[in-house]
């Protein structure tokens, strides 16, 4: 039951073969049995889940229906959930019980989805391995000695291990797509502004976007349908109709033009490259045409990101002052001591590193040389994408340079860790939608391919991904011990 798609589970619920409460208990039993080894979920919400499941069953008895009614999910702990601890993976918010729901949370609840718990994550979404969490690292269900990727590593691992039917995540520089690739699931990052950021704890506001972890592109279409749309509470939310994503699936891929991102193949492991070329062959069989495309400024993505994102992070995280909410140090001797020790003790090493990087690049005398310069180069990268989309419908490349690496392997070297996101960051800088799909294995570990489209091309990305998944079965593989 835990390997079925949302569509398949919805059919069973509609046919009354199973109730949402039974389905929820099935996942809760797996969660309590399997999570201790994975550390994917940090706050199970058992009573709330059973109450929401019973409510979904009552709604169904009253004649209601819907693709997510009674379907269990796990929320990344970056989304505020009323009455439930929302820690963002940090000691700073270890005692924070949110007084309100994020829009993503309330929309999915209204659609009838049942929250099983909150997933582990890199602290404040800053990390690519889920090792910066205050609650300890998440293990990859494909190999417990390996990282699941990050920052949404808990959501990815939980879905791969069959602890929920789907999960939410956020993607600032690859935090949905990279862990999806490393755990063999589908990770979808929508266009900037497509999904509300209200109640999603901010890291880098011009890059942050909420998205989905699912078993298939079709499931991603179902979940995105419920999440997407205008929200007056988010000033960057886009007021634009949401297409019928699921209804648009199945359109023939004949004539689709896919650009192979040259910059992504330089120095790429041959075995990884071969998987992408095999996927391209499948797309060609489906009628797509392929060509090589070059984005000359794309290699500047990582340094550009590591100016822009820390700058925005240092500004956003200044709200954690030990006064209104969150951690406060013991016996502060004056206000400055309260600020410095509350923040020094409440934040972990990587978060402090990013706050200080951001503070430095924004400080007097350095702003023009770093932040302004980076925003100009961000424009150049965005222009490269725009020109590419004049001749192709979408771009393809690997999601990550390597499969999942060993826990502890990169923690001492921030630059090496930052380069994990070399293929994913471009889409965030340009605000583009992108999806990572399972496309094969290297060293018995899952690998992902990435499709990147123009702004608001969610529908064509989902359709292309769905087409690929009709002729391949990489997305149906399950890690041993979790089938």
């Amino acid at each position: 039951m835990h390997t079925l798609s949302i569509g398949e589970l919805a059919q069973k619920l509609a046919a009354k073969q199973i109730s949402s409460l039974e389905l929820t208990d099935h996942f809760l039993e797996r969660l309590s049995r399997l999570n201790p080894a994975l550390n994917a979920v940090i706050t199970p919400t058992v009573d709330l889940a059973r109450a929401q499941a019973a409510a979904a069953d009552r709604r169904r008895s009253a004649g209601e229906s819907g693709p997510l009614l009674g379907i269990p999910l796990i929320h990344k702990d970056i989304f505020c959930t009323e009455g439930v601890r929302t820690s963002c993976g940090s000691r700073m918010l270890d005692n924070f019980v949110s007084p309100y729901d994020a829009t993503v949370v309330s929309r999915l609840r209204c659609a009838g989805a049942v929250m099983l718990g909150k997933s582990n994550m890199d602290e404040f979404a800053m990390g690519s391995s889920n090792e910066t969490s205050y609650y300890g690292p998440v293990k990859n269900p494909w190999d417990l000695t390996k990282v699941p990727g990050g920052s949404s590593g808990g959501s990815a691992a939980a879905l791969a291990a069959g602890l929920a039917a789907f999960a939410t995540g956020t993607d600032t520089g690859g935090s949905i797509r990279q862990p999806a690739a490393l755990t063999g699931v589908v990770g979808f990052k929508p266009t900037y502004g497509r999904v509300s950021r209200y109640g999603m704890i901010a890291f880098a506001s011009s890059l942050d976007q909420a998205g989905t972890f699912t078993r298939s592109a079709q499931d991603a279409a179902i979940v995105l349908q419920a999440m997407a749309g205008f929200d007056p509470k988010d000033s960057t939310s886009v007021d634009r109709p949401v297409p019928d994503y699921q209804g648009l699936l199945g359109a023939p891929l004949k004539g689709l033009k896919i650009g192979l991102l040259q910059e992504f193949f330089e120095g790429l492991d041959e075995r990884n490259g071969a998987l992408i070329h095999a996927a391209l062959a499948e797309f060609r069989k489906l009628g797509a045409t392929t060509c090589e495309v070059s984005l000359p400024n794309l290699p500047l993505s990582v340094p550009t990101y590591y100016v822009v994102a820390p700058a925005e992070c240092s500004s956003n995280l200044s709200r954690f002052d030990g006064v209104r909410f969150g951690y406060r140090c013991e016996d502060p001797k004056d206000l400055m001591d309260l600020y410095k020790r509350s923040r020094g003790e409440g934040f972990g090493a990587e978060v402090k590193r990013r706050i200080m990087t951001g503070t430095y690049v924004l400080s007097a005398g350095y702003y023009d040389a770093y932040y302004l310069k980076a925003q100009k180069i961000r424009q150049l990268i965005t222009d490269d994408f725009r020109r590419a989309f004049e001749s192709v419908d979408m771009l393809i490349g690997p999601t990550t340079p390597t499969p999942a690496f060993a826990i502890g392997a990169k923690v001492d070297d921030p630059i090496t860790m930052y380069l994990n996101d070399i293929y994913t960051i471009g889409a965030n800088l340009a605000g583009l939608p992108a999806v990572s799909l399972p496309c094969g294995f290297v060293d018995s570990l899952p690998m992902g391919l990435q499709l990147v489209g123009p702004h608001f091309a969610e529908d064509s990305l989902l359709n292309a991904a769905h087409g690929y998944q009709q002729v391949t079965d990489w997305h149906r593989r399950t890690p041993a011990g979790y089938a």
């Binding site: 502004g193 011009s206 500047l300 909410f325 410095k340 200080m356 990087t357 040389a369």
Partner: protein
């Protein structure tokens, strides 16, 4: 090292972060590495390029009418506060 201990001290003060003796050498080294890593950007010709203002072309920050839309929920909000007295946030004395 592109940054000295004094540089990191100053940055930490601006960021209102206490950095311990044990942490200091780690930050001097890693922050220097990051500054060196992003130095590559300085070599890019960006003459006549406007800095990006918004990821979506033509989008701008929306304003809302200046109307009261929220009810008073201070009691609920202050449940998360470390110290509250008479609905006020308590901090160490700042005025002598």
């Amino acid at each position: 090292m592109s940054l000295t201990r004094q540089d990191v001290d100053k940055i930490a003060h601006l960021a209102r972060l206490q950095v311990t003796e044990q942490e200091m050498p780690v930050y001097v080294k890693s922050l220097s590495a990051i500054v060196d890593f992003v130095a590559e950007l300085a070599r890019v010709d960006t003459q006549d390029i406007a800095p990006m203002a918004h990821p979506l072309v033509g989008q701008h920050q929306r304003l809302r009418p200046d109307e009261i839309t929220e009810s008073d929920r201070h009691e609920q909000y202050q449940r998360n506060a470390p110290r509250v007295q008479a609905a006020l946030y308590v901090v160490p004395r700042v005025i002598e």
